[in-house]
């Protein structure tokens, strides 16, 4: 447990600084702007369009990518904990701490993105506002967490963690479809939860489960590929 806390503290120190809040603020502004434009174009479908497009389709994966990159100090997930492992901390435990920090960070960003997207897409005083907020924040928290775990595990491939970049590209390309090829990536399941086209006709309950399974598989892969 102390190893996890050490990894968490290490990642927290890396996530400090002025850059993350500035990037987050700019991203939120962009999402709000997109939401307002969608509302002006078609008020009825604006919440769905902005959530599945600008917020969860583009901004959330990018934020999760940057959070993972920064929490790992731009390195592979296993190498990112070498600094504390050298003093005797179990690499696997420290790695879980780093994953936890990036998952919390991404979930927080996702929740903010969802809130700002809904607020921008709904007209003031809309009756569906609260219901949409509740549902989309829940999806955002899960999606942010899974994306963080996914990018963390992907960084274990490549000498300098280049797998993380490929994971982002693969998720954009293969996750956009609804065939079997889209099954292992988070994007299609997040889209399903938002009411979009399901991956291989999975129900929304199965999409929740699929995301949880992807996250769990990523954690297991990260732990198994890392020496003590």
């Amino acid at each position: 447990m102390s190893g996890v806390l050490t990894g968490l503290a290490l990642a927290r120190e890396r996530l400090r600084g002025i850059a993350p809040p500035v990037v987050l603020a700019l991203g939120l502004l962009a999402v709000v702007a997109a939401a307002v434009l969608e509302r002006q174009s078609d008020a009825a479908s604006a919440p769905d369009d902005v959530l599945s497009g600008a917020a969860f389709g583009i901004a959330l994966p990018l934020f999760a990518y940057f959070v993972s990159e920064r929490a790992c100090d731009g390195k592979r997930l296993d190498h990112s904990v070498d600094g504390v492992a050298r003093f005797g901390t179990n690499r696997r435990a420290a790695l879980l701490g780093v994953l936890l920090a990036s998952a919390l960070g991404s979930a927080f960003c996702g929740a903010l993105l969802a809130i700002f997207a809904i607020l921008g897409a709904h007209a003031p005083g809309s009756s569906a506002l609260l219901g949409d907020l509740r549902a989309s924040v829940g999806i955002a928290v899960l999606a942010g967490t899974v994306y963080a775990l996914y990018f963390g595990a992907a960084s274990l491939f490549g000498k300098r963690g280049g797998g993380r970049k490929w994971a982002l590209i693969i998720d954009f390309i293969f996750g956009a479809g609804s065939s079997t090829l889209a099954t292992p990536w988070p994007r299609g399941h997040v889209r399903n939860l938002l009411g979009g086209t399901p991956v291989v006709e999975l129900s929304q309950t199965s999409a929740w489960l699929a995301l949880v399974l992807i996250g769990a598989a990523c954690v297991m892969l990260s732990v198994l590929r890392t020496p003590e």
């Binding site: 190893g3 806390l5 600094g83 003093f87 005797g88 420290a94």
Partner: protein
Amino acid sequence: MSELRFEALRHAELAYVNAAFGAGTHVVVGNEGDGTGTLIAVAAGSVQSAAGRVLLDGAAPWSHAATRRRIASLCATEVLLPARNVVTGLALSLRARGDTRSAMSVLDDAGLAFFATKRADALTSREARAIALSFALSHREPSLLALHEPLSAVGIVQEDFLLRTLRLHSDAGAIVLCTACRLEDAARLGGQTSALERGIWIAPAYALPPISTVTLRVHTAEPRRLAARLSEAPDISGVEWAGGHEVLVHGSELERVAQSVVANARAEAIRITALKSDAPPLGALAAARAALAQAYYERSAATGNATRPS
């Protein structure tokens, strides 16, 4: 009693290292290009060796967290863990080691309390190494202290404090493995001296078994370079260097050993100031050399290529 073993180790500059260290102080003479920095990093479990094994009490530090916890190290390049200032960075390092002491007390003990509030990214590399050294020396019960050039931090860390702490750990049964690029530094650190020359391990004289039938004592100003060169020579069965200017060269035939020493010294442009054999006398060797040189001369004259033998 702790034991550190390098078994057929190859990594970066390290060509092939087979060595074992018991409790006490051991100094490896050589510079970073010779692989001393790599040796310390591998011993500390900071990097995984490309080939061969490193074992501390039978466990590999790289893949065994409990073993790493018993190691205090100072690497060639030190970067403090990310933090607002030195004291919070050290606190995180202490937490990683499972040490409940305060970071301030560690700095205080080494006389470095004035660094406490300094930003970690504002430290010079020498200051960062001094703080890392104070952290390594603060380890309560290390099995191994692996320190790269610890004396280079003297001036920021007090030499008395450093040497006294190393002696305390050594007396308590820890393995103190230090590197030094100068013989004078090795003498100041004390203990057994061995060397690395371009990644080749040169064992201290006491570590080698008495294997030779003949022994040549070669005096030179560059014993490490010569020993490294000779350790690869086919006619030489063993090379010993005890830290001074004398290298002991073992082989089965005196003439072949002497020829190899001279040829290798020439090839490396190393000046030999004295060449002594335990037996037979040097006169026989001189005669053999002269005969050999004559033979080379006559052969080259016969082929029309009047060059001197190398």
